[in-house]
Structure formats: C-alpha cells, structure tokens
Amino acid sequence: MSDPVLSIRNLSIDYIGATSDFHAVKNVSFDIGKGEFFGLAGESGCGKSTIAFAISRLHRPPALIRSGSRILLDGRDVLTLDDQALKQMRWREVAMVFQSAMNSLNPVLSIERQFYDVLKTHTGMSRTEARARAAELLKLVDIPADRLTAYPHQLSGGMRQRVVIAICLALNPKLLIMDEPTTALDVVVQREILERIHKLRQELGFSVLFITHDLALMVQVSDRIGIMLEGELVEVNDAQAIYRTPQHDYTRKLWASIPRLTGKPIAEGATQ
C-alpha cells in the first residue's frame, strides 16, 4: 500500500504477570490506507482492544509493548514519542471512540463545555470560537446546535454516542479508532450512527479502525478486514473476500456459527 496512514509492524504486547506473561498480541503487522475503513474482528480476549489502546499509547502496565514493535502514524513511530509529542498526536492525529463511549462524557459538564475542553487544550480557542466550532461539529452528526447547553443525562444513548464522535472529529484527525462503538446501542440507532460515519469519512477523508465482534456488521461497513485469534492476526483481506472466500479455518468456523437473516439459517459445515 502506498502511503498508509497507519502502519503496524511486528507488534507484540504482553501482559506481565507475577509468574508468567500473557501474550496478548503476537507479532501483528497491518496497514490502513488513507480514507480506508479497516475492520479488526475477533472474539473477546483476542487482543483487538489491546492494539487499539497501543496505537494512541493509552496502554498501561502490566501491558508491555515488546521491543522490535513499530506503530507508524504517517511514517512517525508512535512508540518513540515523548509526552509532549504524544499530547500533540492525540485527538489531532488519532482520536478514539471507546466502547460504551456515551458513558465517557463527564456528567456534570454541559456538552458545550466538553467540546471547549478539547478545543482549548489543543488549539487555544476562545469560548466563543469553540462554541461556533462545536455547533458546526454537532451539525455533522445531526444534532441541533441548541443541545450544546444540555447535560449528558438529557440526551439518549445514541445522541451521546454521536456527541462523542463529534468531539473526536473536532481536530480533523487522520485516523478514527472506534472500539465497539455501537455495541450498547439498538440496531436502528447503530445503523443511523454508522451511516453518519460513512458519509463523514467520504466528506472529511479520515481513516477508520473499526473494532467489533459483530462480523456481519463489519463486512457491511469495512473496506478490508483483519481476523484475530488469540493474539495473532490470522487473515487480512478485502471485506467481501473475508465473507465469500475465507482462507483461514478459524474465519470459516466463525461464519459457520452465525445464524443468517435470509437464505439458509446457517452456513454449510457448521459444527458444534
């Protein structure tokens, strides 16, 4: 791939234990291109969230990134950055929507104030400027500007999730990481949010790293997909190829275990 936004090379992450280490991520390499929607799928404990945290250097002990690992963001190794450079990078280059992010808003601050926090810290914007920018960002996610004065509890779960996404887009990041962004939401709301992301990505040109355990959803929205199993990236391919011609035995088994909405209730060769 020419000029990837994110390039992960030989990433190994261990959780250090008293007696033994747990190898959460084992020698993983993949690229995400400019404007690409890349899905990372796998079951709980496979290491997908660990990778997401490592990209923005949010991992904490006992997680340890082994030497030889490289995480290149626009060619610059994130793992070598000092605190000041990290501060510059977060939000501006990489923004992250966490699982159940709608609960990551501060309950005692208005929506406007939460935008202001990010905008002031990173760009030194004044209150008035920040208010205008926040209104603009809310519009991107279909929320009327008059909700700026609202507090998180006055918004529905789906709206809060969209507010978080709007805050993440505040500094035009190159890469948006979304870790199970819609898992806690109903399907119709999930659909609305992902449609928004889909449109915004085309308008603004950012790349997405999308993490979920919902393979059907992932195939629908992603350009390419990586399948993880016990810390290893076992298969990477175009979304349609992952679905129609899976190469790895584990990918095939995953598909065989998912009931379908149309056609045969379950794929041929389902075991268990």
């Binding site: 079951e43 709980s44 109903d186 399907v187 119709v188 999930q190 659909r191 609305e192 992902l194 449609e195 889909h198 355990h213 919902d214 393979l215 059907a216 959803l217 195939v219 629908q220 929205v221 679905y243 088994k253 995953l254 275990s257 998912i258 009931p259 379908r260 909405l261 149309t262 056609g263 209730p265 379950i266 389902a270 268990q272």
Partner: protein, 303 residues
C-alpha cells in the same frame, strides 16, 4: 399456530409504569400462547417491553389488565400449592451467566437445590442420576463440573449450567431472556442448538426473547415484533421475516447487519428514510388487527 392447547398464555395483558409525572406502557393488550415443542421468539429494541413480558410470566409483575393462563386456568388468585406447580413448570434462563449463578456455591449446589425443593422424593442415587442426566443434556461432564465454582467456568459453560438448572425441575416452559447476547459468536451456536434439542426432545414450550433477529430465526417457529409495549407484527417466522408488512418491522430488518448487502444497499430504503415518523406512529395505541396471510398478522401503523 398449532392445534395443541397452549400450556401458557397471556390474554390481553397490559402493564403501565408510572415514573414521576410520566407513564410508560410496558405492555399494551399483549396476547400470545406457548405450545409444547415450539419456540416463540419475542424480538424488539431495548425498552420495547420484552423483559416486562418475561417478568409478567414469572409473576414478578402483576398485570394491570388481562390474564395469565396456565393450562387454560387463570394464575391470578390460585392456591399456594398451584403456585408451586406453576413455579416448577415455568423456568427462566437469564441473560447474564456471570451474575445469575451464586459465586459462593458449587455447581452441584445449583443443580441439587431445585431438585430438593421441587422433587423432594428424589433422593440419593436417584438424585445423583438425575443431576448427571441434566448435565449430559447440556453436554457437560458431571465429574469435572460438579465440584467447581461459577468463576472457574467460561461464559458458555455457565449458560449451560443455567439451562441445566432450569431443566432440573422438569419444566414444561422455558423463558429464555437474551440467553446468548453476552457470549462470543462461536459459543452462541452451541447454546442455540441446546435450546432446539430441548424443545424437540423434552417437548418444551420456549419463549425466546432477543434483539438478535437472525438467532430468533434459527430457533423459533413463530415470532413477535414488539415496539413500545405493543406487538406490532406476529406469526410464522419465515413469513414475518420474509414478507414483513409493518413499517417498524421493515425498519428493524433494514437496520440489522446483513453481510449479503453492502452498507449502501438497503432492503427497505423508504423505512430508513423516515425513522422518526415510524417510531412516533408505531408507539401509538392500535387495537385493529389485520390478517396478512395464514398465521401472519399486524397492527397497522396509524396514519
């Protein structure tokens, strides 16, 4: 439906909750029946009233209106002895296998206790054999699993224990509220297959509550779509999912991820374009019922 008499039925049941100044219609004229050897799926979004239906059946809530019928007899006002029979006939499997087992007790305790309570005549070797039998039904090895504590088991194993616990009292009806939503996909299918086996082999009547419509299709002969406490469309599963007629059902089905459709190709474009209208109108009370075909009905959305 079938010609067999239903074991359990809700007849025109309503339940209203008052919170502050507002009222929530959690169940509105809800009627359905559970038959031996059949699974009825109840699908809908969170807050649609699915779990309220389960709680009405489990007698955690009393209906404001309507009746709960067990073998054709109203449960309300029945004698204590009949209630005990009802409790052992109707068992529940909960959503969260991590919180529905008691962490301080072994698996043996979880299976033995319901047997002691509901089948006091079962003693010694006979009870031991009964425990082994329910465990083999859920495909777990008694010798390995009985001395263990819940925290030593995986999510899938725990959910199997929850099912075994429900089976331990020889129930006729199983109410399964999102039994697979907290499990990984590869484990999910095993639990769904278990539900299907139980239904066929033990002739159980199953109410399968879920927001995952594809899994409902895998286990249920009949399906009901619920929104705002009202069942808006119901009938034969293939007919409802293959030929949905209520705008809300069509909206729901358009939003369900389907790997056979790209994100930009949707099944019912029209419904996705008027989400707010459908939500608002479908939430209104509608007493009219329209027959779409054999065993397929809707409550038409008010214009």
């Amino acid at each position: 439906m079938t010609d067999t008499a239903p074991i359990l039925a809700l007849d025109n049941v309503s339940k209203v909750f008052h919170r502050g100044g507002s009222t929530v219609h959690a169940a509105r004229a809800v009627s359905f029946a559970l038959h031996p050897g059949r699974t009825l799926a109840l699908v809908g979004e969170s807050g649609s009233g699915k779990t309220t239906a389960a709680r009405l059946i489990m007698r955690e809530y009393r209906p404001d209106q309507g009746r709960l019928l067990f073998r054709g007899v109203a449960v309300e006002g029945s004698a204590v002895r009949d209630m005990r029979a009802y409790r052992s006939a109707v068992q529940m499997v909960f959503q969260d296998p991590f919180s529905s087992l008691n962490p301080v007790h072994t698996i043996r305790y979880h299976l033995e206790r319901p047997m002691r309570l509901h089948q006091p005549d079962l003693k010694g070797a006979a009870r031991e054999a009964a425990i082994a039998e329910v465990l083999s039904r859920v495909k777990l090895d008694p010798a390995l699993i009985l001395p263990k504590y819940p925290h030593e088991l995986s999510g899938g194993q725990r959910q199997r224990i929850s099912i075994a616990r429900a089976l331990a009292v020889n129930p006729e009806v199983i109410i399964a509220d999102e039994p697979t939503s907290m499990l990984d996909v590869s484990v999910r299918l095993g639990i769904l297959n278990l539900l299907n086996d139980m239904k066929r082999q033990l002739k159980l009547a199953v109410l399968y509550i879920t927001h995952d419509i594809a899994t409902a299709r895998y286990v249920a002969e009949d399906i009901m779509v619920m929104y705002a406490g009202q069942i808006v469309e119901w009938g034969d599963t293939e007919s409802v999912l293959g030929n949905p007629q209520h705008p809300y059902t069509r909206l729901l089905l358009s939003a369900v991820p389907d790997p056979d459709r790209r994100f930009t190709e949707t099944r019912f474009d029209d419904e996705l374009g008027r989400i707010d209208v459908i939500r608002r109108q479908s939430a209104l009370e509608q007493s009219e019922v329209r027959e779409i075909g054999p065993n397929h009905f809707i409550r038409p959305m008010p214009a």
